[in-house]
């Protein structure tokens, strides 16, 4: 399931199970493309929690996790970062990251 979250909502959601966080910006072409990629990823992993975090509006989170650009994907497992990808990615690479850390 994919949902847009603010800081409070992120803090409530990220600490349980496998959570993929997409740090994005609204005016970013690669971010828009990644949204469609994640849509396809979600079809293959319907139980995966995908949180979309606006880079410009959630500075607390970007600073906390050292996110320097967008798009950045961070995979959390029970609240701990287990993997990270910077820039636009294609579906196979994201699937591989998820399955290696499941």
């Amino acid at each position: 399931m994919t949902k847009e979250v603010n800081v409070q909502e992120f803090n409530a959601e990220y600490s349980s199970g496998l959570v993929l966080t997409d740090f994005y910006s609204k005016d970013c072409g690669p971010c828009k493309m990644l949204a469609f990629v994640l849509r396809d990823v979600e079809k293959l992993h319907p139980g995966l929690n995908i949180l979309k975090v606006d880079f410009d509006e959630c500075k607390d989170l970007t600073e906390k996790y050292g996110v320097e650009g967008y798009p950045t994907l961070i995979l959390f497992k029970d609240g701990a970062e287990v993997a990270r990808m910077k820039g636009l990615q294609q579906k196979p690479a994201i699937i591989r990251m998820i399955e290696e850390n499941a």
Binding site: C28, M33, F36
Partner: protein
């Protein structure tokens, strides 16, 4: 065919040149051209306006000498061609904006003179000063290959340009054993500067072969003793760039051997100030040493020159500042400075050379001049130089035995590009090609990246040094990638007839496997996109302008399916731009090259912008 989109089909240059050559030969056959009245064709091969071909027949077999009269006697360019009765002779060394006198002299016989008038044909090139003597330079030229919008030139002892290419062949230019030259092609594969391959050509401009490389060509090539070619390349489908070298078969263009630098180096170690995850090594040179059967590379973004075994790829040693490297690497591969003389490490160097006695030279750009961020030098405090190190691989010590340029400070400083050449003991060429001032001060930005609004002054200085005395110094406006001293003519004919060939291959272009749901809009792309499609036999190049942040995808829709290519509209910052010839300062402009390898049949070209699929009206055939 196209609607609003500009479309053109461009034949490969070997085909275009073949047609021009056929026309020339047909004209030659149709007329009775003699020594007194030869056929004279200027710039036959369309890319060197300072050249011509003279054609005539003689009743008896004879050798012929062609002399392009210089503006002074010492500037004459002369060559004697092998004997024959049919004479098809390349004329090299014409002047621009000049009525050139070309003398044709039969062996032990008469002389006839032809006049070849050349107009204003030089593009974006200017020589500021040339200090040498004709006795020293003789009929050699200094050849310079471009780093900006300028194009390749050859400059004589008087500072006159006697050779010029009007197509943007970039990177390294060398003379092969057969007398031809080898230089980067002008066909951009991927921004900022990965070219389709290498051209082997005559200096008259005729391209004999293109050696296409699946991973593109960049920076350097080297002819092996057996004639095969080393070339620097990459994997265009990888996340990293400029970290592969290949050995090319000269007959087929096929790849004989591959070295992937990730097999002997660890990306992320020994970072230079310009390091990036993608361009972690930034390979700009390769040198083959027959004595040790080894390859030496130059990696700008690690400040190192590593040496590996040619056969096994095993790492032998590394020349570079070991600060910050893990202990096990330093102990095993790095050298310790020894001796009493001056010593500086090299930083972000270019163009490694191994001398006949095993010393290692390079152009030490000196960019950042430290492995520690807090100790980086700015341009005004810095220096660049040619340097020669003596290494001892038994006790792993290194000594600096020669340098030129440190004493000139920032005046000779180039943070990128450049090269050194070894001619003999004590006899070297040192080319500082990337000197840049902004508002009168040494620039922190690379010359290839400065904008027109920066009040920038770009120049290059090439010095030939003989036992520490400067025997030649050339200063040009603009940055130039490398310099090479060569004569215009090599032994022999210097021009073979027949169509050139295209060897090797291009790799499949990586597709994007995610679809964008877009409504078929049924309209052509907006005029504001200023879109164009250039189709070639082996690829297509799509150029267009988009606003930052737009979602864009190019589609090739055919009977067998749809191929998708994502186009990024994000501005990319560069820490390295060795050849800015193709760099577009307008960040909205995009360019994508799609190889036809792996595609078959006819495809309609369409473009998705945000949620609409636009027509281009263009159909391509693969």
């Amino acid at each position: 065919m196209s609607g609003i989109i500009k479309y053109a089909f461009k034949e490969h240059i070997t085909k275009i040149q073949a047609k021009a050559e056929k026309e020339m030969l047909a004209e030659f056959e149709a007329g009775k051209f003699t020594f007194e009245r030869p056929l004279v064709k200027q710039n036959v091969y369309l890319i060197n306006p300072l050249s011509a071909v003279v054609l005539f027949r003689t009743a008896e077999e004879t050798a012929v000498t062609v002399t392009v009269r210089g503006k002074t006697k010492e500037a004459d360019i002369r060559h004697t061609f092998p004997k024959g009765t049919t004479h098809i002779l390349p004329v090299l060394g014409l002047y621009a904006n000049y009525k050139n006198s070309v003398e044709i002299t039969l062996y032990q016989g008469q002389t006839a003179t032809a006049t070849i008038e050349v107009g204003d044909v030089l593009e974006n090139v200017a020589v500021h000063r040339m200090e040498t003597t004709p006795e020293y330079m003789q009929d050699n030229l200094i050849f310079l290959t471009p780093a900006n919008a300028n194009k390749a030139i050859g400059v004589d002892y008087a500072g006159d340009i006697r050779w010029h290419l009007t197509i943007p062949c970039a990177f390294d230019l060398k003379r092969l054993k057969n007398g031809n030259i080898i230089v980067g092609s002008d066909r951009l594969t991927r921004l900022p500067y990965y070219m389709s391959g290498l051209y082997e050509m005559s200096l008259v401009g005729k391209i004999y072969k293109e050696y296409r490389l699946p991973g593109g060509y960049h920076h350097d090539q080297f002819e092996m003793p057996d004639g095969s070619l080393l070339a620097l390349t990459g994997d265009l489908n990888s996340d990293t760039v400029e970290d592969i070298c290949v050995l090319i078969d000269r007959k087929t263009g096929g790849i004989l051997k591959t070295w992937d630098y990730k097999n002997f180096l660890e990306p992320g170690l020994g970072k230079s100030g310009s390091w990036s995850e993608e361009d972690w090594f930034h390979n700009n040179a390769v040198w083959y040493d027959a004595i040790t059967n080894s390859l030496t590379f130059s990696g700008r973004h690690m400040d190192i020159m590593p040496n590996i075994d040619f056969e096994t790829g095993k790492l032998n040693w590394i020349i570079g500042d070991p600060e910050g490297w893990p202990r096990e690497w330093v102990d095993k591969y790095f050298f310790k400075p020894a001796g009493e003389g001056d010593f500086d490490w090299q930083y972000e160097q270019h163009a490694c050379v191994v001398t006949p006695n095993g010393d290692v030279m390079c152009f030490d750009n000196g960019h950042w001049r430290s492995k520690v961020m807090g100790k980086y030098l700015n341009s005004k405090e810095n220096f660049s130089r040619g340097v020669r190190y003596k290494i001892n691989t038994e006790d792993m010590t290194i000594e600096q035995v020669w340098q030129f340029g440190k004493e000139r400070g920032y005046e000779f400083y180039s943070p990128y590009i450049c090269n050194v050449e070894y001619y003999n003991e004590g006899h070297y060429l040192v080319h500082s090609g990337g000197i840049c001032y902004v508002n009168g001060e040494p620039s922190e930005q690379l010359g290839s990246l400065v904008k027109d609004t920066d009040n920038a002054e770009l120049k290059s200085i090439t010095a030939e040094v003989y036992h520490d005395k400067v025997m030649m110094e050339l200063e040009t406006l603009g940055n130039y990638y490398r310099a090479e001293k060569l004569k215009l003519y090599s032994d022999g004919i210097n021009l073979d007839m027949g169509e050139g060939s295209v060897l090797g291959s291009l790799d499949e272009t990586k597709e994007f496997d995610t679809d964008i749901p877009a409504e078929a809009y049924g309209e052509f792309m907006p005029e504001s996109c200023n879109a164009s499609i250039q189709e070639e036999e082996d690829r297509l190049v799509f150029k267009s302008r988009f606003e930052k942040g737009q979602l864009v995808m190019l589609l090739l829709e055919g009977e067998e399916g749809t191929h998708r290519y994502y186009i990024s509209t994000t501005a990319v910052s560069h820490l390295a731009m060795c050849v800015g010839t193709f760099y577009d300062t307008d960040e909205r402009n995009t360019s994508i090259c799609i190889s036809k390898t792996g595609l078959k049949g006819a495809y309609d070209v369409r473009v998705i912008i945000e949620d609409k699929k636009y027509e281009t009206g263009v159909k391509i055939t693969c």
